[in-house]
């Protein structure tokens, strides 16, 4: 039986992150694409191994979270570990719309429209 974190309570999450609740890389957006830069090595924490396997093709942070059945906040901490050791790279959304420039660029919008029409 697969148990998600919804049934597991906080203890397992505490263990997975070695008790950390912060320290995650703030630039990791929900849709930052993560790419493995190395293979898992023996003895690695199982969640790190899974991430390196999942991200052999680019995968968004939220997708990693869904596949690992762990909350996004926990996954950000795990990803930060791997970023810090160079085992993954992150492709951030760009240009991120900001309060000063809240709208996407016309080029991007055109691309989205074309793809949606073809859907």
């Amino acid at each position: 039986m697969t148990r998600s974190h919804r049934q597991e309570g906080p203890d397992r999450l505490y263990v997975i992150t070695s008790g950390r609740s912060g320290g995650a890389d703030d630039s990791l957006d929900a849709v930052t694409l993560i790419v493995s830069e190395s293979d898992p090595v023996p003895g690695m924490q199982s969640e790190h191994t899974r991430i390196l396997e999942l991200c052999r093709s680019p995968m968004a942070v939220v997708e990693v979270s869904a596949h690992l059945r762990l909350p996004v906040a926990i996954v950000r901490i795990l990803l930060t570990d791997l970023l810090d050791t160079g085992r993954i790279t992150a492709r951030h959304p760009r240009p991120a719309p900001s309060p000063a420039h809240p709208l996407a660029s016309p080029d991007v919008l055109e691309k989205v429209l074309v793809a949606l029409h073809d859907l």
Binding site: H5, R6, G9, P10, D11, L13, Y14, G19, S21, D29, A30, V31, T32, L33, R56, S57, P58, M59, A60, V62, E63, S65, A66, H67, R69, L70, P71, V72, A73, I74, R91, P93, R94, A96, P97, S98, P99, P102, L103, A104, S105, P106, V108, L109, E110, K111, V112, L113, V114, A115, L116, H117, L119
Partner: protein, 224 residues
Amino acid sequence: MHSTTSESPAPEPPSAPGPAEPPSGAAGPAPGDAHSPLPATAEQALKIAVVGGFGAGKTTLVRSVSEIRPLSTEETMTRAGDGIDVTDGVEAKHATTVAFDFGRITLDATSVLYVFGAPGQERFWFLWDRLFSGALGAVVLVDTRRLEDSFYAIDRLEAQGTPFVVAHNDFGDTEHTLDQVRAALDLDPAVPLVRCDARVRASAKQVLIALVRHVRSLVGGGAR
């Protein structure tokens, strides 16, 4: 375009004896598989948020447009800053957790669009502010049986300047005209309001197209 259902399998041509499927691993995952990988060149991810009350059809809309089986996960935010005792190391007990689901549309070799479905009630927004920051825009999905569920989302999106459209998910009930819905929501005339059947891909994708066109008109027309 109107009669397609996701349930209709293409007729299988009778094949030669032997295993119907090639050994796994030879070909990529079938479309619709949640593990269906993005191209290695994917580098730019975009997002659209679909918000609405319980039962408004958010998940249905996401499923209709997604190329993968929708995935679901949770965002958790501890309220450690609120003076709650966190010294025992089980601060997750005090966390607010919200489930959301999402689907994916690959746009081209470099770009991918994620479509998020999320409950729109007030108590969830401190999570969405982070999760959906930088979104292209939002769709507010309304159910005329529970219009009040969308009031907060509309106010919030207006206040933060996120472009959005409102979609009336019509469950076969056409008793309300769009004008009536617009009036009941007290919706700004500049905000597009469309009707959709979230179960039907062709209809669901028109909602997203309406949103992107709306954003494009804002880009072209300056601040207003």
